[in-house]
Amino acid sequence: MIKLLFFAELEEIVGSRELTIEKGELTIVELKQFLKEQYPTLPVDRAMIAVNEEYVEDTNVIKANDVVALIPPVSGG
């Protein structure tokens, strides 16, 4: 089980800030592919990915109980 977080326009497209998916280990690349299939309009490739609140590379592996956030380009400040 993996918890997914969506923010800003991603949250609006998904319709929810938080989703849980029934997956075991998978790579960021695999997760992105999964999300593109589920939400064809979601700009997945423009998002950064954070696992447990740290940015990760596409090659990273997500494990059970990880919290994965899709971070669209930030605009604070």
């Binding site: 923010f7 800003a8 326009e9 423009r46 950064m48 609140e53 930030v74 605009s75 604070g76």
Partner: protein, 159 residues
Amino acid sequence: MRQLENKLFLITNEEISIQDVVNKVVHPNAGAINTFIGTVRELTKGKKTIYLKYDAYESMAEKKLAQIGSEIQQRWPEALVAITHRIGRLDITDIAVVIAVSTPHRADSYDASRYAIERIKEIVPIWKKEHWEDGEKWIGDQLEKTAYPTGKPEEEHLS
């Protein structure tokens, strides 16, 4: 509340007191304190903003602000840094962010403060939504923004 306000790196729903943020970096060895205050501007590229809404991935945003503090202390070892960013609805001239950096000498306080705001705009998960008379839009969804094909923002020199 008092505990929250004492955090050096803070995301808050409340109005930000500049003095409170500055107080966190006052020190007998500091001769200079630079602050950067980001306020809500009415006009952006000729378009009139009515108000903004800021949202954040709060727990991660505070971690990333703290990371910026660590990066600054690596570059400017004597610097003390505090940053508070507000989220929620902000009206024109409201304060969105206050950065305070103290250093023994003034040049470093300017450089480190500038470094902080540039890094905030690169790595801290905070987003603003502009609300105009005829619509609204999440900023960050801007054409001039680059995608992050590696999933991870690189540390860049200030432009």
